[in-house]
Subunit: 424 residues, 2 copies
Amino acid sequence: MALIVQKYGGSSVADATSIKRVAKRVAEAKRAGHDVVVVVSAMGDTTDELIDLAQQVTPLPPQREMDILLTAGERISMSLLAMAIHNLGVEAKSFTGQQAGVITDEAYGKARIIDVTPSRIRQTLAQGSVAIVAGFQGVNPTTNDVTTLGRGGSDTTAVALAASLMADVCEIYTDVDGVFTADPRIVPNARKLDRVSYDEMLELAASGAKVLVLRCVEYARRYGVPIHVRSSFTTHTGTLVTDQPAAEGEIVEQPIIAGVAHDRSEAKITVVGVPDVPGKAARIFQVVAGAGVNIDMIVQNVSVAATGLTDISFTLPATDGAAGTAALTEHQPDIGFASLQYDDTIGKLSLIGAGMKSHPGVSAKLFAALADAGINIEMISTSEIRISVVTRADSLDEAVRAVHTAFELDSTEDEAVVYGGTGR
Amino acid sequence: MALIVQKYGGSSVADATSIKRVAKRVAEAKRAGHDVVVVVSAMGDTTDELIDLAQQVTPLPPQREMDILLTAGERISMSLLAMAIHNLGVEAKSFTGQQAGVITDEAYGKARIIDVTPSRIRQTLAQGSVAIVAGFQGVNPTTNDVTTLGRGGSDTTAVALAASLMADVCEIYTDVDGVFTADPRIVPNARKLDRVSYDEMLELAASGAKVLVLRCVEYARRYGVPIHVRSSFTTHTGTLVTDQPAAEGEIVEQPIIAGVAHDRSEAKITVVGVPDVPGKAARIFQVVAGAGVNIDMIVQNVSVAATGLTDISFTLPATDGAAGTAALTEHQPDIGFASLQYDDTIGKLSLIGAGMKSHPGVSAKLFAALADAGINIEMISTSEIRISVVTRADSLDEAVRAVHTAFELDSTEDEAVVYGGTGR
């Protein structure tokens, strides 16, 4: 008998029929003798509909009220799911984030979990009942007001509860079969990974893979919570995210690659004609950071000796493009650059696998694959287990396919896969 | 400067446009210098839609989960209203029933308020902000679970908050102009009452007038909370419900009648051939009460001496008809009656006015009016300030019009009125 935390996203509980299917799955786990805690997102498009209602009322809703509004969504899905499970003859009780003891800071709309005190959940399990918990929400203990956790918040709720309850596994149910070596919409013969390490999953998430959000994986790694990413539409085994890398135990000739991620959401700013003196680059990134913008990759061109000027390029989320440009323009006099170039037609490809740095052949093979496909590399960055390159946005799909093939990730089976975003 | 509690029903906050109109009204009261607490129902048909969703999931939803589900409705309307008020430059914060300190018993689905501890509401008012409170809901302190108050619950929330905050007035906004001498859909020239006493309003509510529910009026009378029933679509003065009767101060020749109520929701059970010995009637009503059925009017026919048998008729809500009939049938052997007759085609007309008992001419005039209109009276019951008669359901409208005219309640003005049910 195990303690299992299951999380179902919005597409898994989109209507009464889906809720009944999830209920059956939960009841089966319970009848198999496990203690079951279920975290649910809001049904289907509920959250978008509530946001739309708010925008009809005011262009700038106060964030406290927005959080109260949005948490109505999980209130609906969690109570309906509890009813559906009850209807199958299995006891189930639903709890809000507050009732489940999900304590957060007071950053409405993007709160971080600071503690989990699930005494009511433990009590409910001890009574032999399934506990349903609203994802995406917590309580700010200073004001006793409800908060929401931002994108991917329900996954984070599930992992945080699993950590606090010392669950055996946290199952994240989604509309895909697991974590893939690449996005199957771009690479039709991408393979599902049987397992992937926290570090690899972090890099995949940070590099554009949408199946799990970064903070959820960070939380799981910190507390050693095993995550099982799987489909709510099949009973197939999905992908296990633990501290074991994807390739461990596989035959040695295979490249030690977990997968190829891609990201189309970034833009590039080039600061042209920066005086090549110490402190200027630091000043640029201070200014950008001061505008609340996160920088991803950075390239500084070699200085042209005759002019004493250099160009610095960096990537940032395209949604922060206006803020970054405005901040730099405001500080143009003191930084002393000549001009700014803004480019939002870039794409980023990342190759991820444990121990990549110790295999120098990996980057050579990557660059060769892209060169053979006639794709130009504009920027490069690497970490212990990742190589990322920036290309033109319109060559990104081709680049992903070329790299996926070069590293022999293509599946030989004819797997039917469904791929999409996860809920929140 | 006054402390005003305003309550808006579902039809007053049915969509974004309506919410903005209510926000304007609230902001005006605040700008006029008043402290304002607003109680809201769920938007339009939200509650019915949620009930429908639950029924798609299970035929018998557990009541605890049903209450969690339904309270999502006010969560949405209260936060949207707070946003809309905020958008007009007036500070507003929304609170759930629990946050507002509405403490109830644990009767899910029909909980009763046992205490109100509105410290957060007082604090919010002291900060110069409008407080929005979710109607229809509270918290059961034993389990810390949310409860709902049943039909008319938002009105009760408003009156209970007004009592606890010692508000100057509790304004109940609805889609009618106030309390009328009869339902204007049946009597087109019904008059709006400028005022009505708690006792009269209680009799009106108990006799089928839908503008306020019984328990809300009971609460207001117990704590002396003045209620102002008015339209959210106009700025007209509505009807003031206090301890002053409707007719006080009016010219003495006028009948002291508050209005004519009608009710089509009852049915009649006749227990035929009951042994006319002491205790049999009591046994019948014990059995019916034991089935959780409330009895309204009772008539016992004169015993026929030769047989020693009598018939007993009583009225009950038609929705309880099956339960009442089943309970009596089960106890037929020990009660010893011959048969049961069930009739759900009855209508009840009630004439209400303070001091009616001291004016014997009133009942004579009522019976004469009905006789002149050719309407047969099947049962009669009276209280200090009410006379009720049961007629055939299909003569009820005509009966209401005849009595309304006989007591000179018809308006001489050509008032434009809108009449409908209230929210919950």
